[in-house]
């Protein structure tokens, strides 16, 4: 299985990085026989043992036929990638534009694509939801949300 090989590789790289980063912690061992590095070192060793277990599992499963690829698997890369980028833009504009405007734009985009054609429902949700939640959280619950370019 390709995915499992990648997981094994990433685990080993991660263990190496973590050991290296643990070495970088300056230590002053006063009154604490172990210091801040000991527990992380144990975790690093644990990660190596996990890598070994992963290898054992892959070895045991070597004769199993890989599951047939799901139909339309390209689709999910595109959807996940697209939604992730759109969400990143939402978060990027969260403070400059403010919660209300950023959320209206975000919701218009996503509902417009995933709930196609239902314009009335999409537009009214995209506007009413951010305004309502903004007022509820900032005025009612005292949770501060980004105000952005709007005056309130």
């Amino acid at each position: 299985m390709m995915a499992d090989r990648i997981i094994l590789g990433v685990t080993l790289v991660l263990a190496a990085l973590y050991f290296w980063a643990t070495q970088q912690i300056p230590s002053l061992e006063i009154g604490d026989p172990l210091g801040p590095k000991a527990f992380p070192r144990l975790l690093g060793i644990g990660l190596l043992l996990t890598a070994a277990l992963l290898a054992v599992e892959m070895w045991k499963a070597r004769h199993e036929k890989p599951a047939p690829a799901e139909p339309g698997s390209m689709v999910h890369y595109l959807v996940v990638g697209g939604v992730a980028v759109w969400t990143w833009l939402y978060f990027y504009s969260f403070e400059p534009l403010g919660f209300i405007i950023a959320t209206v734009l975000y919701l218009l985009g996503l509902t417009g694509y995933f709930n196609r054609g239902k314009w009335i429902a999409n537009v009214s949700t995209a506007i009413l939801f951010p305004v309502f939640t903004y007022l509820m959280f900032t005025k009612g619950l005292g949770v501060s949300l980004a105000r952005g370019v709007l005056p309130f």
Partner: protein, 501 residues
């Protein structure tokens, strides 16, 4: 009789109007979250933490616990009407519940799951009330070495039981522990793994991890399904919302047995509600006079598993409250909520804050009554929620997640983190790495390291301290066994499969 006074005082706490209101709000939210596929109790509780921050901790925790056990009620509705579990533990209910609905007995299926949930849920709280104190007083003797080995056992059990592969479960556990080491080391004051980012000095908040991995990743999965057009059809509630005498007679046994199975599985770390309901289902199928009806609309196949996954929630609170060590993902998030309020669950809490502990436990009796009303006569209202197009619902969940994540510190970094963990959670799901072990070890990581270092300080850096008492030795052995168990389970599964065939 001191205990009885505390238990009765707990009722005085939870019957205060404000706490009744928060109990109601919790179970109401729980039912909604349970009915809606796509968002579960863990993400909801995590999102509630920033919102409830200024509240009285007792009320806030009563509400969050309400969400935790309330979702189990709502989850069955979706399983019965659209054959999609509204919540992971309702997966067994899809088998016979949906078939009952297709045969025009949706009302009976909904009724038996609400009644079964109520009986088993209440039974579970009774057992929690009885077992909590003896366990807590036993745990008073625990030192750092005992706590370290106990957490080790909880983590290994969850790692090996939640996923398909124990190695991947362990990987998730270690990732959680590693994320927990990010930030200023409490004992030496040294920053660790902060990568020069100032916000990381306080560590990576578990709320952003949980919200990302449970809510955002679920949205990504749901949107992919929309794109593929794999939506399910909603069946109407058909037939009377009640049971015939015959159906009732067939359900009583499964409800009781499911309740007992669920509670025991709940107390043990690792297994959780899904396994409890699978066990109950296979037990009922084996005991039934009509095993051939299972999968074709047998009411026992709804009554047992639904009872089991509700008793499981009460059971799962036993180790959380008495030992301060949760045995699964959702209770780990609850522990995170306790800690955010500066409350450490465990034996000392029973001595220092009996009002809080018993107020919380007693509120569950009332919450279960409220849930019975919400899920039986009023279930028609909640079913309307399923008419919300998911193309609108999922984008809204991201916005709610953003409010929750941003609301904690007002930091945009937390927003990027929920996206990062959301994508990571999506990938984990695709490659079969379970998420619950990561969340559990992230929440326990700090405590685990502290108890490890305290134990080693006591022993003068001699690791023998972890093999000094019967408790630690037993826990170490159990940890080893829990890693070995998955190598036995495939055989059991093979046996079950040959049974079904």
């Amino acid at each position: 009789m001191d205990t009885l006074t505390h238990i009765l005082n707990g009722f005085a706490v939870c019957l205060q109007p404000i706490n009744l209101w928060y109990t109601f709000l919790g179970v109401f939210l729980g039912t909604i979250v349970g009915v809606l596929p796509g968002i579960g109790p863990s993400a909801t509780i995590a999102l509630l933490i920033p919102v409830t921050f200024g509240m009285n901790p007792t009320s806030a925790l009563i509400m969050m616990a309400g969400v935790f056990y309330g979702t189990k009620y709502g989850g069955s509705t979706t399983a019965i009407l659209i054959r999609t579990p509204g919540e992971a533990a309702s997966v067994m209910t899809t088998l016979d519940g949906y078939e009952m609905a297709r045969k025009g007995r949706a009302g009976a299926a909904l009724a038996v799951s609400a009644i079964g949930s109520f009986i088993a849920g209440t039974l579970g709280v009774v057992a929690l009330t009885i077992f909590a104190l003896p366990l807590a007083s036993m745990a008073l003797k625990f030192g750092p070495a005992e706590y370290f080995t106990l957490m080790l056992f909880a983590m290994t059990a969850v790692a090996s039981l939640t996923g398909k592969s124990p190695a991947k479960g362990l990987l998730a556990t270690l990732l959680g522990l590693m994320i927990a080491t990010i930030g200023i080391d409490l004992q030496s004051g040294q920053p660790r793994y902060t990568m020069g980012i100032a916000e990381f000095q306080d560590g990576v908040g578990f709320v952003v991890v949980v919200v990302g991995m449970f809510a955002v990743s679920e949205v990504l999965r749901g949107l992919v399904d929309i794109q593929r057009g794999t939506g399910a059809k909603l069946l109407p509630i058909s037939g009377k919302l009640w049971l015939t005498r015959e159906e009732w007679k067939r359900s009583v046994g499964p409800i009781w047995r499911g309740g007992v199975i669920g509670f025991i599985i709940g107390v043990l770390p690792g297994a959780g509600g899904t396994i409890a309901s699978i066990l109950s289902y296979t037990t009922e199928k084996r005991l039934s006079k009509y095993p051939e009806e299972f999968g074709k609309g047998a009411i026992e196949g709804v009554a047992g598993p639904e009872a089991a996954n509700n008793a499981d929630t009460a059971g799962a609170l036993v180790p959380l409250l008495t030992l301060g060590v949760p045995g699964g993902g959702s209770t780990a998030v609850l522990l995170g909520a306790f800690i955010m309020y500066g409350i450490q669950p465990g034996p000392l809490l029973f001595q220092n804050r009996p009002d809080l502990v018993w107020g919380l436990v007693d509120s569950m009796y009332i919450g279960n009554i409220m849930l019975l009303i919400l899920n039986l006569p009023l279930i028609g209202l909640f079913v309307k929620l399923l008419l919300i197009p998911i193309g609108i619902l999922y984008p809204l969940i991201v916005s709610i997640a953003a409010i929750g994540a941003y609301g904690i510190n007002g930091s945009v970094l937390d927003l990027y983190l929920i996206l990062l963990f959301g994508v990571l959670g999506y990938i984990f799901d695709k490659v079969d790495i379970p998420v619950a072990p990561l969340v559990l070890s992230l929440v326990l990581g700090g405590m685990m390291e502290q108890s490890f270092r305290q134990a080693m300080t006591i022993s003068g850096a001699n690791p023998k301290i972890f093999f000094n008492s019967t408790i630690t030795i037993t826990l170490v052995i159990m940890s080893v066994i829990s890693i070995a168990v998955p190598f036995v389970i495939p055989r059991i599964k093979a046996m079950l499969k040959s049974d079904e065939a």
